[in-house]
């Protein structure tokens, strides 16, 4: 039996998404051209910007020159130790930040900002300028502790989690956490009246910091640095309501803030249950997306099991880490001595955590 064709609602939905993307693209190009012109103009602001970027002063985003790709750039594996040139960038960041601020800097963020701008000719300056911006945002959000201190739990948290369903569902072959975001199941008619932009951003900041906590625990268990995730975006339930301009503005703001403040955080995006026409629209908008990002995105309909298998994704039983977080896997609060550690047994669940902890048993 042949699959049924796209409905008119799906067609209109995708057309609207495409038009919004075209509009956004056009605005971005105009903005970029204006920026280039202002940078080229020999006015006082350009001189001031150069002065800000002079050796010894703290670089700022406004003081950065146009993005020039370093021809010698080669991406590092997440788990690879820092190379000498990366350590040189760390040294410069430390000098700009000062010892006190540097010592409080989350280590995973440090590496993400160092490696996230390694492709640029002004590597150290760009890393610092964007890191500095991020640290100011993190201060305002109490991001370092928002997930760790119960009194900072955002208001109406239970309601938000019921409306915006998200969480870890497994690990991929390399050990990256696999995070499911049920975007299609999010009901804008419940979300928008209850959470304005500030409240939405605080909830999402809490989500991202919970993910950082989850990722850190994952690294500690595996003794392996993994700061990226596999994001599974489930579009099941996507409808007209999601094209609401208020919803679009919310998601656009979220994307603009979080992409700057959490660089180098995506290993792969797997879209599932995408409407048939969405896949066609994806082919149309691909040229606008950065090639490195484009390679990471995989759009699928209802049949996504093969993509999961290709990426070596293993789901938790019952979708929760708790099922696997038995004492023998976890790093307890007081590290046990060798004598106190229970004997290892073959894992029957073949979860990612066990695979890392007991490779010889699988």
């Amino acid at each position: 039996m042949l699959p049924s064709g796209p409905s008119s609602v799906e067609c209109m939905l995708c057309m609207q998404i495409a038009m919004l993307l075209v509009l956004e693209r056009a605005i971005s190009q105009i903005h970029s051209q204006l920026k280039q012109k202002s940078a080229a103009a020999p006015v006082g602001t350009a001189t001031a910007a150069k002065a800000l970027a002079s050796p010894g002063s703290r670089p700022t985003i406004d003081g950065l020159g146009e993005e020039v790709i370093n021809p010698d750039f080669a991406a590092s594996k997440e788990w690879a130790l820092l190379k000498p040139d990366e350590l040189q960038v760390v040294r410069r960041l430390k000098a700009w930040l000062g010892n006190a601020a540097f010592s409080k800097l989350p280590r995973d963020l440090l590496v993400c900002f160092v490696r996230g701008y390694a492709y640029r000719a002004d590597w150290a300056e760009a890393s610092f300028a964007y890191l500095d911006q991020c640290l100011r945002w993190r201060d305002g959000m109490s991001a370092d502790v928002i997930a760790l201190q119960s009194e900072l739990l955002p208001p109406k948290r239970a309601m938000f989690e019921a409306i915006v369903q998200a969480g870890p569902i497994g690990f991929d072959r390399e050990g990256h956490p696999v995070i499911l975001d049920r975007v299609g199941a999010t009901d804008p008619s419940k979300l928008l009246p209850n959470f304005d932009q500030d409240a939405f951003m605080r909830q999402q900041c809490y989500n991202r910091e919970c993910l950082r906590v989850f990722a850190t625990a994952n690294c500690l268990r595996r003794k392996k640095r993994l700061y990226k995730m596999v994001q599974v975006i489930d579009l099941k339930g996507l409808g007209w309501a999601h094209t609401d301009s208020q919803m679009y503005a919310l998601l656009k703001h979220y994307n603009s803030v979080f992409s700057w403040n959490y660089p180098e955080s995506l290993s792969k995006i797997i879209v599932i249950n995408a409407p048939f026409v969405f896949q066609a629209v994806w082919k149309m908008i691909q040229p606008w997306i950065h090639p490195i990002t484009r390679q990471k995105i995989d759009i699928n309909g209802r049949s996504y099991q093969a993509v999961f298998a290709k990426n070596g994704i293993t789901l938790f039983d019952g979708a929760t880490e708790a099922r696997h977080a038995t004492p023998r896997h976890a790093t307890p609060r007081t590290p046990p001595t060798t004598a106190r550690r229970p004997p290892r047994r073959p894992c029957v669940t073949r979860c990612g955590t066990c695979a890392a902890a007991m490779p010889s048993r699988h």
């Binding site: 788990w79 130790l81 820092l82 350590l87 760390v90 040294r91 430390k94 989350p106 280590r107 995973d108 963020l109 440090l110 590496v111 370092d144 502790v145 997930a147 760790l148 739990l153 948290r157 239970a158 989690e161 369903q165 998200a166 969480g167 870890p168 569902i169 499911l180 049920r182 809490y206 989500n207 919970c210 993910l211 950082r212 906590v213 989850f214 990722a215 850190t216 625990a217 690294c219 500690l220 003794k223 640095r225 700061y227 489930d234 789901l315 938790f316 019952g318 979708a319 929760t320 880490e321 708790a322 977080a325 976890a330 790093t331 307890p332 609060r333």
Partner: protein, 40 residues
């Protein structure tokens, strides 16, 4: 695919029962890198 997700709050609560908050706050870095950065 799971039908119900426990949510991030529940996930983190479980992790805080297993790890010191200070270990989770600073993120992970291999000891070799920590040593190299300490010498900078």
């Amino acid at each position: 695919m799971p039908e119900v997700l426990p949510g991030w709050t529940a996930e983190v609560k479980k992790l805080l029962a297993q790890f010191e908050p200070s270990a989770l706050k600073l993120g992970y870095m291999p000891p070799e890198d920590l040593a190299a950065i300490g010498k900078l």
